[in-house]
């Protein structure tokens, strides 16, 4: 049986959803060991067992939360060297990427980023990766070395609990975190709260682009979102312009969303944007330019002025709700 190690990252003391998605996939590939590092690590075993981890290695130490990448990369590096799993899978989060980059160099193992389908038969690893803004699906493998490192983006796999949860064996990691790993120190965490559902979880996403003309007009999207219990997203152009925080960004360098309905308002539909939203069940686009590329993706395209149509739509929905 193949040995699959999954780095189950925490966020605010909770296992991140991407870890459960990865474990769901990993359990079909072999025997899953989850590694949990940081404050709250000890309390996660039951949840990880529900998704298919048969073994959970924990190190409940705040150093992992206080210092970027090095403590986690050191501990994971040592674990991989002693345990020699066939795969180490890490979620593509900010921290996950930094840690994987260090592990790649330390273990000299090579890495496949953005694995979205994985098969492992004996020693034969085949991974599908969307390249060139997901216009091409490429099958790749990693040669040489014992452990192969994969990064998986959130939402690449569905998280599905087992009908019969496993009761994982829990082991404490004995590693000590060296002083030399305590260098990039987090001195403050600022959480920018947004109202309504989270962008990644919402069943309706309303995104705005440069066609909104100015930052203030995002309030039109917030009002519409309020009516349909939606979340508001954005194109990179307006994030870079500072209209909304980066956490709103949808696309290649932002979030991947798969809502039931995605409403693109004043977004041209550049390939780096559509890669993050083309998994939506339905797409509605509003754009003044009839040749905007977004219309090639939209189920309902409306050629028109977003500044007129969005407020009218909000009004219309309010009325229908009575």
């Amino acid at each position: 049986m193949s040995k699959i190690m999954v780095f189950a990252q925490l966020n605010g003391g909770q296992v991140q959803k991407v870890a459960l998605e990865i474990i769901t996939k990993a359990r079909s590939l072999g025997d899953v060991t989850a590694v949990v590092l940081g404050q709250g690590a000890a309390g996660q075993a039951a949840l990880l067992g529900q998704y298919g981890a048969s073994r959970v290695l924990v190190h409940d130490d705040t150093a992992y939360d206080q210092f970027l990448s090095e403590p986690a990369a050191d501990t994971l590096g040592t674990l991989v060297e002693t345990e020699k799993p066939d795969l180490l899978i890490v979620g593509t989060t900010y921290d996950g990427r930094d840690i994987a980059a260090r592990l790649n160099a330390r273990l000299d193992c090579g890495v496949i980023t953005d694995a979205y389908e994985i098969s492992l038969e004996g020693d034969n690893l085949k991974v599908q990766v969307p390249w060139y803004s997901a216009t091409t699906i490429v099958d790749v493998t990693l040669q040489g070395g014992i452990t192969r490192l994969l990064l998986v983006k959130p939402k690449s796999f569905a998280a599905e609990p087992l009908e019969q949860p496993l009761q994982p064996q829990v082991e404490q990691i004995s590693a000590a975190i060296s002083d030399s790993a305590r260098r990039a120190q987090v001195t403050e965490n600022v959480v920018q709260k947004s109202e309504g559902p989270r962008l990644e979880e919402a069943s309706v996403v309303i995104s705005g682009g440069r066609g909104l003309k100015q930052a203030e007009n995002f309030s039109l999207l917030n009002e519409l979102a309020g009516q349909v219990n939606g979340a508001v997203g954005a194109s990179r152009a307006v994030v870079d312009a500072g209209w909304v925080p980066y956490s709103y960004q949808v696309g290649q360098t932002g979030k991947t969303v798969k809502p039931s309905v995605y409403i693109a308002c004043g977004i041209s539909g550049a390939i780096q944007h559509t890669v993050g939203m083309k998994g939506a069940k339905y797409i509605v686009a509003i754009n003044t330019d009839p040749d905007a590329p977004i219309f090639k993706f939209a189920d309902l395209g409306v050629v028109g002025d977003v500044l007129k149509i969005v407020p009218a739509l909000t009004q219309e929905i309010k009325q229908r709700k009575g």
């Binding site: 900010y94 990427r97 001195t187 219309e316 229908r320």
Partner: protein, 260 residues
């Protein structure tokens, strides 16, 4: 203070990258190439540090084909001090693992206090190279910076996170990756472009940095492409022109989907 900025010449990122079916690498022939726009932010960040304190040297480093010289010249035109071009046919086809190794070896010679990279390149976008450089140079990594301050032997950043940002600091030397919201890169002035032609650029091969040809490039790459296929594309639906009823039609559509 010595700052090294890692830059890359990439196919024009607003075009669609294509795969060369024979080599299964990014098609670079017959495609306009430019300094990766993502790297302009790190060059600008370096220039702003140089303008705020005395004795700052900025070295732009690139590994790539001869064409990568254009990226270096553009960095020099913006105001960097000198360049290092690592170009060698043996390096063609290098993966992120090798790229980080080779760049780290070249950067080390510059004795840097600060190494700046973009969070990810526009063509490969693995985001694996900067962390690899940090690991090889045994430096801390301050990543995803949307603000950067360097003073008193320390670098402090505001780092983007999924839900906001965090303040992070580390003593120099350090590797920092910057995002597109950190600054507005300047255009090189004509004078800068003229001066850039006279600024020194070191040219290095893999062997100069102590690598043998079979450790690097295609031969040294761990990642192997097995095959490829075009991704499934969505189909276009109905497009209507707003005649004043668009809001009603969208509402009907949403109602049909039971969103309202």
């Amino acid at each position: 203070m010595n700052i090294v900025v890692c830059v890359k010449q990439v196919p024009e990122p607003t075009g669609t990258n294509r795969l060369d079916p024979a080599s299964l690498r990014i098609m670079r022939e017959g495609v306009d190439s430019v300094l990766d726009p993502a790297d302009e932010y790190s060059i600008e960040a370096a220039l702003q540090i140089a303008e705020s304190q005395p004795d700052v040297n900025i070295t732009v480093v690139s590994m790539g084909p001869e064409r990568a010289m254009e990226a270096i010249r553009r960095g020099l035109a913006m105001g960097a001090t000198k360049g290092v071009l690592i170009s060698d046919p043996a390096l063609a086809g290098s993966d992120a693992l090798t790229t980080a190794k080779v760049l780290a070896a070249a950067i080390k010679r510059e004795n840097p206090d600060l190494v700046l990279c973009a969070t990810e390149s526009s063509d490969a976008y693995t985001g694996m190279v900067p962390g690899g450089i940090a690991q090889h140079l045994k430096m801390p990594l301050l990543s995803y910076a949307k603000k950067l301050q360097v003073s008193g032997g320390k670098a402090s950043i505001e780092r983007q996170t999924e839900s906001g940002f965090q303040k992070v600091e580390a003593s120099l030397p350090v590797v920092v990756t910057v995002t597109g919201s950190i600054n507005t890169p300047r255009y090189p002035a004509l004078k800068g472009i003229v001066q850039a032609k006279k600024k020194p650029v070191d040219q290095l091969t893999a062997a100069d940095l102590g690598f043998s040809p079979d450790q690097v490039g295609e031969k040294g790459a761990k990642e192997k492409v097995l095959g490829w296929s075009p991704a499934e594309q969505r189909k276009a639906g109905t497009v209507i022109k707003d005649d004043g009823t668009a809001a009603v039609q969208i509402a009907d559509f949403l109602a049909k989907l039971k969103v309202i």
